[in-house]
C-alpha cells in the first residue's frame, strides 16, 4: 500500500507546477498564519526570557507586604536594617550579610522613535552590595557612578530605546541635573534601568526608605529561614520571594495578554487558512480527476489515493510554514521593543524566534494541512471511477 501511495504522490507532486496557482494559495496562506503566530509569540517569548533571566534562585527580594511590584512597595530605614540582620542571608567577602537596600523611582525619558511623548523609565538607587549581588552586570562603557554624586549609569536597553541618556549627557530630574557616566549590560530586565547611588536618590526624590531589599541566600535552607524570621517579627510585614520567582511573576499579565491575542488571531487566521486549503485541495482533486480515475481503473486502491492527496496537502502546508517562520525570523528576531511593565516603567526586550516556536508553527501547519486535505481526499477516493473518466 505504501508503495502505491508513494507512487501516486510522486505523480501528483510532479504535477503541482501545472496547478501552481491554487498550490501557491495554500503555501502563502499557511505562511501568513505561521508568520503572524510566530511573531506574536516571539514577542511574548522575548519578554518572558528577558524577565526570566532576571533574578537568581539563590537570592531573595523583600518587599512591603501586599505590594506586588516594587513600585507599590516602600518601607523605612529601620525596617531595612532589621531585614539585613535576619538569618538565612549569606555573608559577603567582608563578613557582613550580603544584602542591598534599593530604591525604585520613576524617571522620564524621550523615546528615540517618537519625540513627542516621554516614557517612564526605572531609576534604581543602589548600594555597593547591589553590584555584588548581580555579577552578570558589567560596565561596558564609561565608568561606574561615584557614590555621593549625582551620577548615573544607564542600561543598554535604555540607550537602544531612548534618547538624551547617552554617556556624557545630562538628565534633568526633580529640578536637579544628573550626569550619565557609564553604560552597563546585564542581559536581563535591568538593561531597561538607570542606576544611581541610593542615598543621592533618596535626598533628590524626597524619600527616606527603600523599595526593596535584595539578599543573597545562604543555601541550603536560607530562604526558608529568612522567610520564617521575617514573618515572626511583629515589626515587619513583608513579602519574601526568590528573586527569579518575583520577576517571573512580573511577566504574567503581559504573557497572558499576548497569549490571548495570539490565540485569537491564530485561531481565526487558522480557520481562514483551513478554508483556503480546502478550496485549493478540492480544486487540485478536480483538476487531477481524470488522472486519479485512470489510476483507480488500472487497479490502485482507494486508500493510496487518499494518502497521496493528504501528503500533497501536508507538503504544501509545511512549505508555507517554513516560509512563514523564515519571514518571522528575518523580520522580527532580535528586534528591540519596549512596553509598559508592572511598575509603569518601560521594559526593553527583543523578539525571540525560538526553535520551540518554529516547531509549534509547523505543528499548526500540519494540523491545517491535514484538515484541508482530508475531505477532498475522501472525495477523490469515492467518486465513481466511470463518472470521473466521463466528466473530463
Amino acid at each position: 500500500m505504501l508503495r502505491q501511495a508513494f507512487a501516486i504522490t510522486g505523480l501528483s507532486v510532479r504535477s503541482i507546477p501545472e496547478r501552481w496557482a491554487p498550490s501557491l494559495v495554500i503555501v502563502i496562506g499557511l505562511a501568513g498564519v505561521v508568520a503572524v503566530f510566530t511573531a506574536l509569540l516571539a514577542m511574548s517569548a522575548g519578554f518572558e526570557s528577558t524577565l526570566k533571566s532576571t533574578g537568581r534562585h539563590d537570592a531573595a527580594i523583600i518587599l512591603r507586604g501586599g505590594s506586588d511590584a516594587e513600585l507599590n512597595s516602600g518601607f523605612d530605614r529601620d525596617s531595612t536594617d532589621l531585614i539585613k540582620e535576619k538569618p538565612g542571608i549569606r555573608p559577603g567577602a567582608d563578613g557582613k550579610p550580603l544584602a542591598a537596600a534599593e530604591l525604585m523611582v520613576i524617571a522620564e525619558l524621550v523615546r528615540r522613535d517618537d519625540v513627542r511623548s516621554g516614557a517612564n523609565v526605572t531609576l534604581r538607587g543602589v548600594e555597593p552590595a547591589s553590584f555584588m549581588l548581580r555579577p552578570q552586570l558589567k560596565i561596558v562603557a564609561g565608568r561606574n557612578f561615584t557614590p555621593g554624586l549625582r551620577e548615573l549609569i544607564v542600561g543598554r536597553g535604555v540607550l537602544q530605546q531612548f534618547q538624551g541618556a547617552d554617556v556624557g549627557q545630562t538628565v534633568r530630574m526633580r529640578g536637579s541635573e544628573w550626569t550619565v557616566v557609564g553604560e552597563f549590560a546585564s542581559g536581563d530586565s535591568h538593561d531597561s534601568e538607570m542606576w544611581a547611588d541610593i542615598n543621592v536618590a533618596r535626598s533628590t526624590f524626597g524619600r527616606l526608605g527603600s523599595s526593596s531589599v535584595l539578599a543573597a541566600l545562604d543555601e541550603p535552607g536560607g530562604f526558608d529561614r529568612l522567610k520564617a524570621a521575617i514573618a515572626a517579627d511583629p515589626r515587619l510585614s513583608m513579602d519574601v520571594l526568590r528573586e527569579d520567582d518575583y520577576f517571573s511573576g512580573q511577566t504574567k499579565q503581559f504573557r497572558q495578554t499576548i497569549g490571548v491575542l495570539a490565540g485569537v488571531v491564530t485561531v481565526i487566521m487558522g480557520l481562514g487558512a483551513v478554508f483556503a486549503a480546502l478550496n485549493s485541495m478540492y480544486a487540485a482533486v478536480a483538476a487531477r480527476g481524470k488522472e486519479i480515475a485512470t489510476l483507480r481503473a488500472i487497479g490502485f486502491g482507494g486508500l493510496p489515493v487518499v494518502v497521496s492527496v493528504m501528503i500533497e496537502a501536508l507538503l504544501l502546508a509545511l512549505a508555507g510554514a517554513v516560509l512563514g517562520a523564515l519571514i518571522a525570523y528575518l523580520l522580527f528576531n532580535n528586534l528591540s521593543v519596549a512596553t509598559l511593565g508592572q511598575n509603569f516603567t518601560q521594559v526593553v526586550f527583543s523578539f525571540k524566534v525560538t526553535p520551540q516556536l518554529v516547531v509549534r508553527g509547523l505543528v499548526i501547519a500540519v494540523l491545517i494541512g491535514m484538515i484541508g486535505g482530508f475531505l477532498p481526499a475522501l472525495r477523490a477516493a469515492r467518486v465513481p471511477v466511470t463518472t470521473s473518466l466521463r466528466e473530463s
Binding site: 496557482a21 503572524v36 506586588d68 507599590n72 524617571a107 480546502l278 478550496n279 512596553t339
Partner: protein
C-alpha cells in the same frame, strides 16, 4: 430575473468553492473588526474630550506626588478658572480586582468635570460624608452596589492607621456620563481626600498625583501649560503640563505601538485573502470564457461583461465582509458582557466605515484582473476554445 440575479446565480455556480471562499473572507473581516476596534479603543480614547482642561503631573512621572499646596498658585494663573486634583488610591475589590479609584476634593472635582451627571443631593452627600464614595454607573451595575451600602475596598498602596490595607466606604452617589463616550468612562470611583489624609498610616497629607486645570473659554492652553511648568522649574516639584487629550494619548503610547502591530497582522491577513479570493475569481472567470463570449454574442458590450465580473467579486467580498464585521460586533459585545464592561470592544461607526472601504478596495483588487480578461476576450476565439 435581473442583472443582479444573474450575478448572484453565477456566484454560486460552484457552491462548495464559493462557500469556502466566503468563509475565508468572513474570517478575514472578523479579525479586521476585532483588531481595529482594539486599536481604536487605544487610539481614539482622546478624541471625545471636549472642554479644554490641562493635566499637571510631576515631571518625572505621575506616580510621584505633588503637594496640594500648589493649588492657589495654579488658580492665580490668568485663564485658569478652577483647579481640582486627583490622587491614585490603588483600590482593589475583593482580593484582586483593581479599581480605577482616586482621592479628591468633591466640590472642586464637581466644578471641573461637568460631564458627570449625578443628582445634586448625591453631590451634597458626598461633600458631607467623610467616608463617602461615589462610583460610576458601570461599576455600580457590575458589582451590584446600591446607594446606602458600605463597600469594602482595600488599597494596594495605602494601609490604614491600624496597619490593615482594608478600607470601607459608604456609597452615597452613582454618576452617569453626559453622553455615550462619557458613559463608557463611568468605571471610576472617588473618595474624599480629607478622609484619606486623616486615616492613612503614613500620615501622608496633602499630596496628590494630578492637578486638573479648568480653563476659561478662549484661554490659550499652550501658553498656560508653559506658564505652569516655568513656575515650578528647578523646584523639587517640577511639573509637566499638557492637555487632557495629550495625556490620554501619551499614556497609551507607553504600552507600545498597538496600531503598528494591528496593521502588520491585518496586512498579512489581507494579503493572504487577496490571493485566496483572487485565485477563486480568476478560476471562475477562466472556466466561463465561453459563457462570457455568448453574452457578447447576445449583444452585451465589453464593458457590460467587465461589469458582471466586478459585480461578482464585489458581491462575494461584500457578503463575506458584512458577515465578518457583524460577527466581530457580536464577539465584541460578548467580550464586553463577560468582562463586565472592563474590556470595551465595540465596533463603532469608524470601524464599520473602514470595513466598508476595505471591502470596496478588496473587491477591486481581486476583481480587476479577471474583469479585464473578460472584457478583452474575443468572441470568435473564445467560442472556438482558443
Amino acid at each position: 430575473m435581473t442583472r443582479t440575479g444573474f450575478v448572484v446565480a453565477n456566484l454560486f455556480r460552484k457552491r462548495v468553492r464559493t462557500i469556502l471562499t466566503l468563509l475565508s473572507v468572513i474570517m478575514a473581516f472578523l479579525l479586521f473588526g476585532l483588531l481595529q476596534s482594539v486599536n481604536s479603543v487605544f487610539s481614539s480614547g482622546a478624541d471625545f474630550v471636549g472642554a479644554t482642561r490641562l493635566f499637571v503631573q510631576a515631571r518625572v512621572s505621575f506616580t510621584t506626588a505633588l503637594p496640594v499646596s500648589m493649588v492657589p498658585k495654579l488658580e492665580a494663573i490668568a485663564g485658569v478658572t478652577r483647579v481640582a486634583y486627583l490622587q491614585w488610591f490603588g483600590g482593589v475589590w475583593q482580593t484582586n480586582t483593581p479599581l480605577i479609584m482616586f482621592t479628591l476634593d468633591p466640590q472642586r472635582y464637581h466644578d471641573v468635570y461637568p460631564e458627570w451627571r449625578m443628582p445634586e443631593d448625591q453631590w451634597q452627600a458626598f461633600e458631607h460624608t467623610r467616608t463617602g464614595v461615589i462610583v460610576g454607573r458601570q461599576l455600580a451595575d457590575q458589582y451590584g452596589w446600591k446607594i446606602g451600602q458600605k463597600i469594602p475596598i482595600s488599597s494596594q498602596i495605602w494601609p490604614q492607621k491600624d496597619g490593615s490595607k482594608a478600607w470601607a466606604f459608604d456609597l452615597v452617589g452613582i454618576f452617569d456620563g453626559k453622553d455615550e463616550e462619557w458613559q463608557k468612562r463611568t468605571n471610576q470611583a472617588f473618595i474624599q481626600q480629607d478622609y484619606f489624609d486623616e486615616a492613612n498610616q503614613f500620615g501622608i497629607k496633602g499630596r496628590t498625583n494630578f492637578f486638573i486645570l479648568k480653563l476659561a473659554p478662549g484661554a490659550n492652553a499652550e501658553t498656560i501649560s508653559k506658564t505652569v511648568d516655568a513656575m515650578f522649574e528647578n523646584s523639587p516639584d517640577e511639573t509637566k503640563t499638557q492637555t487632557e487629550k495629550d495625556f490620554n494619548i501619551s499614556f497609551v503610547k507607553q504600552i507600545g505601538d498597538i496600531g503598528l502591530i494591528v496593521r502588520w497582522i491585518l496586512f498579512a491577513v489581507f494579503f493572504t485573502l487577496l490571493l485566496v479570493v483572487g485565485n477563486t475569481m480568476a478560476q471562475s472567470v477562466r472556466e466561463r470564457i465561453p459563457e462570457l463570449a455568448v453574452l457578447k454574442t447576445l449583444g452585451f458590450s465589453d464593458g457590460s461583461v467587465l461589469g458582471f465580473v466586478l459585480a461578482e467579486a464585489f458581491a462575494l467580498v461584500l457578503l463575506g465582509g458584512l458577515v465578518g464585521l457583524a460577527l466581530a460586533s457580536i464577539a465584541g459585545a460578548m467580550v464586553e458582557k463577560q468582562t463586565g464592561g472592563q474590556f470595551l470592544l465595540e465596533l463603532d461607526g469608524g470601524v464599520w466605515l473602514l470595513g466598508v472601504v476595505a471591502i470596496v478596495l478588496m473587491s477591486l483588487a481581486v476583481g480587476v484582473l479577471p474583469a479585464l480578461r473578460a472584457r478583452r476576450l474575443k468572441i470568435v476565439d473564445a467560442l472556438a476554445g482558443r
